[in-house]
C-alpha cells in the first residue's frame, strides 16, 4: 500500500516562502493570485493488506514525527 501525506503550514502562521513566491507572481503580472502556500509531500510504502489499520497507523506517525502539530496540518491520501 502507498500513502501520500500532504503537510502544510497552519493558516495564520508566517510562511515566508509562500509570501515571497506570492510577491514574485505579482511582479510578473499575475495580480489575481491572492496567496501562495508551501508544503511538503511524503510518500510512504507500507506492507500489509488492512488499509484502514495502515491509515490509522500513518495518522499516528504524522502526529508523532512527520508533522509538527504546533505549526502544521496534514492530510493523508491513498495512492493508486
Amino acid at each position: 500500500m502507498k500513502f501520500r501525506i500532504d503537510i502544510r503550514r497552519k493558516e495564520g502562521l508566517a510562511d515566508p516562502e509562500g509570501m515571497t513566491t506570492h510577491k514574485a507572481l505579482h511582479n510578473l503580472g499575475y495580480t489575481e493570485v491572492t496567496a501562495a502556500h508551501f508544503g511538503r509531500t511524503i510518500y510512504l510504502e507500507i506492507e500489509g493488506t488492512d488499509a484502514a489499520a495502515a491509515a490509522a497507523e500513518v495518522e499516528t506517525m504524522c502526529r508523532q514525527l512527520l508533522a509538527n502539530p504546533v505549526i502544521e496540518d496534514f492530510e493523508i491520501g491513498v495512492v493508486g
Partner: protein, 234 residues
C-alpha cells in the same frame, strides 16, 4: 557543576560550547546521542549545528534518540537544560519549550552579531544578567523565526518567559531590529520553571575579546547561578 554537552550526528558547535563553559570554570563533557544515562551531570546544553541533517524539520529527529530520555527527566527535575540555535529547535520539537522555529522572514541565512535585550532574569539562561541589559551576540541560522499561536505568545509574555528580544544597539525593540521575523522579536524563551531555556543566537561565540564580544559569558554563567538559586532560594 558538571554539564553534559549533547552531540547528535550533525551537531557542530559542541567544542565551542565546551571551550566557553571551561573558560567560566565549568566542567563540560561531550555526550553522544546514543547515551541512555546522564548520571553525574547537573545540567545539559544542546548545542547548535544541523542535527540529523535538519531532515524533515529542524530538530524533528533529534528529539527521539536515547539521550533525550534522561534529558527530559532532568528537565522535569528542575536541572538547567539549555538549547542553543539547533538545540533550541530540538527543545521546541521535543515539547520541552512551546512554539517552533521556521525559515527566516527574508529567506536568507543570517550570520552576524545581533543586539539582544534581556527581558527576564528568571531562567537558567539569564539569572546572572539584569533585565534591560543589551547584549551583542552572533546569530547564525536560517530557521530562526520564532512562531507560536497568539495564546502561547501571550502566555509567555504574561509569565515572564520571554528572556531575550532582538533590539537595536540602544535596546529599542522594533520591526527594523528584528532580523528574522520572530513573533514579538523573541530570541529566547524558557519554560514555566525557568530551568529549560532556548535561544537562537550563540553565546558561546561571544566569550573572548578576540571574538568581538564577551557578552555571552553572563548568559553561560546563569547556568550555575540559577542552579544555586534553586538550591538555596533567596
Amino acid at each position: 557543576m558538571k554539564v553534559a554537552v549533547v552531540v547528535f550526528p550533525g551537531t557542530n558547535c559542541e567544542y565551542d560550547v565546551v571551550h566557553a563553559l571551561g573558560l567560566i570554570g565549568m566542567d563540560a563533557e561531550l555526550v553522544f546521542h546514543q547515551e541512555t544515562k546522564l548520571s553525574g551531570f547537573d545540567a545539559v546544553v544542546l548545542p547548535g549545528g544541523f542535527a540529523h541533517g535538519d531532515y524533515l524539520r529542524t530538530g524533528a529527529i533529534a528529539r527521539f534518540p536515547p539521550v533525550m530520555g534522561p534529558v527530559t527527566a532532568m528537565a522535569a527535575a528542575g536541572a538547567p537544560v539549555i538549547g542553543i540555535c539547533n538545540g533550541f529547535q530540538v527543545l521546541c520539537e521535543a515539547g520541552l519549550l512551546p512554539g517552533a522555529l521556521v525559515a527566516n522572514r527574508d529567506l536568507s541565512f543570517i550570520c552576524k552579531p545581533v543586539h539582544l535585550r534581556v527581558e527576564s532574569a528568571r531562567s537558567a539562561l539569564t539569572a546572572a544578567v539584569a533585565p534591560g541589559a543589551v547584549l551583542r551576540i552572533p546569530l547564525n541560522s536560517y530557521e530562526g523565526n520564532y512562531v507560536a499561536t497568539a495564546e502561547t505568545v501571550g502566555a509567555l509574555e504574561a509569565n515572564g518567559q520571554v528572556l531575550l528580544r532582538y533590539c537595536d544597539g540602544s535596546g529599542a525593540v522594533s520591526e527594523s531590529a528584528n532580523p528574522n521575523g520572530s513573533m514579538g522579536n523573541i530570541a529566547g524563551i524558557c519554560n514555566g520553571a525557568g530551568n529549560v531555556a532556548g535561544l537562537m543566537p550563540h553565546p558561546e561565540r561571544a566569550v573572548e575579546a578576540v571574538l568581538g564580544s564577551t557578552d555571552g559569558i553572563s548568559l553561560l554563567q546563569s547556568i550555575p547561578m540559577f542552579a544555586a538559586l534553586v538550591a538555596n532560594p533567596r
